[in-house]
Amino acid sequence: MSQTSKASAVREKSDKYTEFVSRGFGRDLAKRLGLPQPAVLRRYRPNAPLVEGPILVVGHGVGADGVAQVLLDWHLDVRRHATPKEKLGAIVVVLDGLDHPGQLSEPMLAIGAALRDLNKNARIVSISRPALDDDAPALAAARNGVDGIIRSVAKELRAGATANGVLLANGIAADAPSAMSALRFFLSGRSAFVDGQFLTASSEGTAGNADWASPLDGSVAVVTGAARGIGAAIARTLARDGATVIAVDVPAAGDHLAAVANSIRGTALQLDVTAPDAGARILDHALSRHGRLDIVVHNAGITRDKLLANMDAGRWDSVIAVNIASQLRMNEAFLASSSFAGNARIISVSSTSGIAGNRGQSNYAASKAGVIGMVRSTAKLLAERGGTVNAVAPGFIETDMTAKIPFATREVARRLNSLQQGGRPGDVAEAIAYFAQPGSAGVTANVLRVCGQNLVGQ
């Protein structure tokens, strides 16, 4: 059928260098010369095993026991002690009971002893509590220590393995549904290009997804900027996960938009997101055609780069208008609608430029940092009606846009992260699809970087 041939046509390949050094002569050569050896990452496929190999749960106490039980409930192969030489798919370290940095030694050394036994594309995930302003100094030191550990271990891991952490808000148990949804995301291939990052479980959340292979069944999602690149990947990923997708892009991109919509049996809505009535028109389309709107993905964005000294009003204002002002205006319309309720989800695409800044992108960084501010503030408004709002900040992603960067610059840019490669549009889409799941309730106000732990920024 044409559907499958279209799907396989868009299957992405690793960059040529990564392919070259991943086998045979190329691998030996790279090893001898000390060249970067990016791994071919394990990416999510529905119904594939969550992790490849047994999971070692490190930690004592109720939290660790609870987490181990959840993993067993997921039918995973769980170890409470490492067996030397046995290959591991993941290590989950539960540190929810820390109150002094001295307690970090034992679990960390246990992990260290097991590191050499990690499979390719293995996962290390910590579960701990964030340091808060009113914590006692020793408690805060211990809790914040985990941050340094995970970010460092992520840089030590090789062969596509990653380290990430789940942070538990006050009163949230280590095995709360929200924390477990974040853990599951980090263990899975969905987080292939997420490294050295944390997700906060801010409230209890609800029981997991009814169907893990098709978690978005029955939901209606709108994706802006869906005609190509990351937006098209988001639309395809949400559709794969079961959502009915309304693909939105400017009228001038309508032909690409139609191709995306048809490939996922969704609908195309040609619309400029800066139009004053954009939110109303999206709502009208969603409600009249599908009777509901559950998921909004604000992906549409533009760049108009110039050093600030050379900046003009046209460049500055258009970037602000498209990248942030439109989202604010559309969110007002969505939040004012009683139909956007229950498990409502808003996910915005930010950028590492909005976190770390980027030369020549003061306007873009303003808009993308603005998105982060908006997301954190909107979370409270949406929480009242049981919804979540999160942001995803992509790093170097292989798109038509980055393909235009000169060869040498691009080659350097894509190696400047712990995974030593550029991400794929699908990697960003997977993170967004995770936030969109019903089982991700309780995970809100997060800004998740999908950057392979880019050396720039946090």
Partner: protein, 447 residues
């Protein structure tokens, strides 16, 4: 000489209509002046793109549609199954049947009316009417002499016979036949025919230029208020009709030299500015029964109320080639108990500004009304503020078979936006003239 029947066909009004056929929406690709953005696009490419845009707009990927009917005026022999081939290349289910039809520039209109009738009869629940034309990728045939030689050659058995047949080829046989807009029975081009009609009805150059300017201004304004956002899907880098001149002016139009009717000398009024250019493009319209549209939660823009075709004897009679709608509209309105005053929007295809103005003049003419239409006086006056309010073919261009679909989708959206007038649904009239002295007209009503 013969005169078209002026009165409605007796007995044709009383038949009850089993159910309604509605316009769900439409999609077209921007129209491109020939030799422009679509120079290397085939009719099949363009029709497929227009279909895919429609499918995406209404979420029909993988759906089986009751029937697709579409056609092209300039058609390659290899495109004998153009509509079906376009369906197979589109995102529609491969089990969607399709047929080609052709009624010159009225092809798109006839597709809409024919499919609507099938829906009304309950034979199908959904349909897509379409049309496409490429003046750039037009078929070129070998000369009749060479064709006859080649056919003989294919039947020859021995080398001797073949050599003898090949020896018949003369240099003049090698000149190809390119399609023209000339009428086979008069040898006159469509423009030359209209020039005669324009002069016959004393249509001034100024009036034609004013109509052309209004077309450009109205179309540009419609684009500016995003009217076409859900009617057009870009193609080959084009997102607006390439013939549109938003900055046109009466001064600029007045400077153009006459292009047709030069033999009339001072009386030559038709220029490239007030005539449609050769154009490439494709359009589609999604039609359905109310039940089909409602079950899929699709919008319903308008009802396809009724349609009518007419033809004039332009070879021997006194009517101009493109004057058939002047007879079709009175018949259609009479059958539906309506007059021109009951129409809220007029979409009169601008083959030439002179065509529209000659038709309006005929309707306002007492003599024409009495002697040709069999009325007590003039048929009536079209309120110009209701005429082609979002522009028409002079600005958008006119890919022959695609114009009907453009008109139906555009009018359906206008009517839906307007809603009701004096407590009744807003009503629109479409009138399209066609080669061979034909015309096809239709009434739509707002939903």
């Amino acid at each position: 000489m013969t005169t078209p029947t002026a009165a409605a066909t007796p007995g044709s009004s009383a038949l009850p209509v089993p159910r309604k056929a509605v316009v769900v929406g439409g999609n077209r690709i921007p129209f491109a002046r020939s030799g422009g953005a679509y120079t290397h696009s085939s009719n099949q490419d363009m029709l497929t793109a227009a279909l895919d845009g429609l499918v995406a707009r209404f979420g029909l990927a993988g759906e089986e549609i009751g029937e697709v009917a579409a056609g092209a005026v300039l058609k390659h022999s290899r495109d004998f199954n153009l509509a079906r081939e376009a369906v197979l290349g589109s995102a529609l289910a491969a089990t969607t049947p399709a047929y080609d039809l052709q009624q010159a520039c009225a092809t798109g209109m006839e597709a809409v009316i024919g499919l609507s009738n099938k829906i009304k009869l309950g034979q199908i629940d959904s349909a897509i009417a379409g049309g496409v034309d490429s003046a750039s990728d037009a078929p070129i045939a070998v000369s009749e002499g060479l064709r006859s030689i080649l056919l003989d050659l294919s039947r020859a058995k021995t080398a001797g016979q073949k050599a003898k047949i090949i020896a018949r080829i003369r240099p003049k046989d090698l000149t190809p036949n390119a399609p023209t807009t000339g009428e086979p029975r008069t040898g006159l081009s469509m423009g030359e025919h209209q020039a005669l009609t324009t002069a016959q009805w004393n249509i001034t150059r100024e009036a034609q230029d004013e109509l052309a300017l209004a077309s450009h201004q109205n179309l540009a304004a419609a684009y500016d208020r995003h009217f076409f956002d859900d009617l057009i899907t870009p193609f080959r880098g084009l997102s607006r009709d390439s013939n549109l001149r938003a900055d046109s002016s009466l001064e600029k139009l007045a400077k153009l030299k006459p292009a047709f009717g030069k033999a009339l000398g001072e009386g030559a009024t038709m220029t490239a500015g007030n005539s449609t250019p050769l154009t490439d493009g494709a359009s589609t319209v999604l039609l359905a029964s109310e039940e089909w549209a409602t079950a899929r939660e699709l919008p319903i823009l308008a009802d396809v109320v009724d349609g009518e075709a007419a033809a004039v004897d332009f070879v021997h009679g006194k009517d101009g080639l493109l004057m058939a709608p002047a007879f079709a509209v009175p018949r259609l309105l009479a059958r539906n108990g309506l007059t021109l005053d009951d129409i809220d929007y007029f979409e009169i295809h601008e083959a030439f500004a002179g065509t529209v103005l000659s038709t309006l003049a005929a309707w306002e003419d007492e003599e024409f009304g009495k002697t040709r239409l069999g009325l007590d006086g003039a048929f009536g006056t079209v309120d110009r503020s209701k005429l082609n309010v979002n522009g028409s073919s002079l600005a958008a261009g006119h890919p022959f078979a695609a114009t009907g679909g453009r008109l139906v989708a555009t009018l359906a959206k206008m009517l839906h936006e307007r809603g009701t007038v004096d407590g009744r649904p807003a009503r629109g009239l479409i009138s399209v003239c066609a080669a061979g002295g034909q015309g096809v007209v239709a009434i739509l009503e707002a939903r």
